[in-house]
């Protein structure tokens, strides 16, 4: 067999595997959209229709009438953006001090940080839940946002990144009379954009998909985030599959839009976590 023929055969095989896999990936999504556009009667027909007949756009209107999905978008967005800004700020400030400043007890405090990296979320969540009840923060935005604006992992990751930066720029800034805060703002932060973008993406996505914490904190409909909003929608319309799938589509849309814009950082971020290890 000639070399090019062999190569072409391999190529054909790769495409065959990839395409059949891709179809397996896409069919559930297609089925979801298809169901979301059916009326309740045509869901329960056999064999199932692939293309809904008639197409019922009303389902989406009904979902929005029954549950404040746009409010859920807004809540999820507010929480995720505040946490992302908070984590970037608190982590980068602390990471700068841990990487570059000398103060007594610095390494001991950092070791304390490191020792909590492996503590499971469940351990920390129980006392935090009790604390929220004691200070009366249950069912508030404060409870959703504030415990999540600090990140041990973020501090650790940024410290490692700052340590890898060359010190020459800081030295010359110091000679020019730049303060420590000035060096942080005008030297360290601009040099660290890739690491900050990665941390921002991880934090945003983590917050956006967070499930258990909002579930135990929030009771009011108007304060729910998207995942728990969808969960309670399911509680109410547990067998109305067209409406449930319309709500599911509505939950997925922002994630897909956000991913489309942050795809590069998202992928780079995953790679970075593996390489840093």
């Amino acid at each position: 067999m000639s070399k090019t023929l062999k190569q072409n055969l391999w190529k054909f095989l790769w495409y065959l595997i990839l395409t059949s896999g891709a179809i397996t990936m896409l069919i559930p999504f297609f089925w979801m959209v298809s169901t979301s556009l059916k009326d309740i009667a045509s869901v329960f027909t056999y064999p199932p229709q692939w293309i809904p007949k008639p197409v019922v756009w009303r389902n989406y209107i009904d979902v929005c009438r029954a549950f404040p999905f746009f409010r859920f978008y807004l809540n999820s967005f507010i929480v995720a953006v505040s946490q992302t800004i908070g984590v970037l700020l608190t982590s980068s400030l602390a990471a700068y001090a841990f990487a570059r400043l000398n103060f007594p007890g610095r390494d001991k405090i950092f070791l304390l940080y490191l020792s909590t990296l492996m503590v499971p979320g469940a351990v920390v969540m129980i006392p935090t839940f009790i604390l929220m009840r004691i200070i009366g923060w249950v069912d508030t935005y404060k409870a959703l946002i504030i415990p999540g604006i600090f990140s041990v992992y973020g501090t650790f990751m940024l410290r490692q990144f700052f340590l890898s930066l060359p010190t020459s720029l800081e030295e010359s800034a110091k000679i020019d009379g730049c303060s420590k805060l000035g060096i942080y703002r005008h030297v360290i932060i601009p040099l660290s954009k890739p690491a900050l973008a990665t941390l921002a993406t991880i934090t945003f996505v983590g917050s956006w998909n967070n499930f258990m914490w909002p579930l135990i904190m929030i009771n009011s409909m108007e304060k729910k985030t998207l995942p728990i909003g969808l969960a309670s929608f399911q509680g109410l319309y547990s067998t109305n599959w067209p409406l449930l799938m319309a709500a599911t589509v509505m939950t997925m849309i922002p994630s897909i839009i956000i991913f489309a814009f942050t795809q590069r950082y998202f992928i780079e971020g995953i790679k970075l976590t593996g390489v840093k290890f």
């Binding site: 969540m125 006392p127 942080y184 258990m212 135990i216």
Partner: protein, 302 residues
């Protein structure tokens, strides 16, 4: 005088983060350890009970028919958690396979990557709800497709036999092009081309190149994914089960994390929940150390 000012500025920088660390990480970690030796429902006064939470959790007692665990639920849920973790090697092998495919120089490969990554992007609750519909026994897509090849599909999520495998299968599907595939792909792209060229000169075939170059070069990544999957696996399974099965039928999809959720936030057994959470912590800690010690030796950095 100058030294003191220098000291102060360092503390100012860590202060915001440190306050959060004390209130939302370190403090809760210590407090939950204390809680694990108490019985407390938040409403009535706290009561110290020594090791009795741990005895209830891990202990056994004699019965006329033999020895029985004090909390049989816990052991069942631990088994459920481990059952889901048994799929980690399969999932890793699939991720590697996908990464090898994505690493081929083919036109339009970026489109495939995005398609396979889609389930990872979409919110987990939405994915779980979608699969609940796919698994619907009478009108779901999966049983319809099975009926095409003359197989009568089971009542997936309502069967103690099939609910766990069904959820595990969904996990495999979701992870196919996900995080681990991206990690493997990055590692594959980091292998020096010269290694393959040298092997070709020596007359190595495709399988030999994979076995003696690719696989050893990937061991650090494999090791990383394995540890992260084990840590995640012990803490996983709550959201999916909450949406798809509510932990049922008959507790067959309840994981340790779900049991902690029920104890802490449904039944307000703060002490017992903390004891389970600390047990989880110690198991994760021990297994990570063991994997590190045993696996770390085998990691070869080429």
């Amino acid at each position: 005088m100058k030294r003191i000012r220098k000291d102060l500025s360092g503390y100012l920088f860590i202060l915001p983060g440190l306050i959060g660390f004390i209130f939302f990480t370190l403090g809760p970690t210590i407090f939950s350890l204390i809680l694990s030796f108490t019985k407390w429902d938040i409403l009535s006064p706290i009561k110290f009970v020594g090791f009795s939470n741990f005895i209830k959790l891990l202990g056994f007692h004699k019965t006329p028919s033999g020895i029985a665990p004090n909390d049989p639920h816990f052991w069942y849920y631990l088994w459920n958690t481990i059952f889901f973790m048994l799929f980690i090697p399969v999932s890793m092998a699939l991720s590697l396979l996908m990464a090898l495919l994505f690493n081929q120089k083919l036109k339009g490969i970026a489109v495939f990557r995005i398609i396979y990554f889609l389930p990872t992007v979409c919110s987990g609750v939405a994915m779980a709800l979608l699969w609940k519909w796919l698994y619907n026994p009478d009108f779901g897509l999966i049983n319809y497709l099975l009926s095409k090849i003359h197989i009568q599909g089971p009542n997936w999520l309502s069967s103690t036999k099939w609910a766990k495998p069904a959820i595990a299968f969904m996990g495999l599907w979701t992870g196919l092009g996900g995080f681990n595939t991206v990690l493997y792909l990055a590692a594959l792209q980091g292998i020096p081309k010269e290694l393959y060229e040298a092997a070709e000169v020596d007359g190595a075939n495709a399988f030999q190149k994979f076995r003696y170059i690719t696989l050893p070069s990937l061991t650090p990544t494999t090791f990383f994914i394995l540890i992260m999957s084990i840590i995640g696996g012990f803490q996983g399974g709550f959201m999916t089960a909450y949406i798809m099965t509510g932990g049922g039928p008959a507790g067959s999809t309840t994981t340790i994390d779900y049991y902690i959720y029920n104890n802490a936030y449904q039944w307000l057994n703060m002490g017992y929940a903390s004891a389970i959470a600390w047990f989880l912590f110690l198991v994760i800690f021990a297994i990570t150390l063991l994997t590190w010690k045993y696996g770390g030796r085998r990691v070869k950095y080429v």
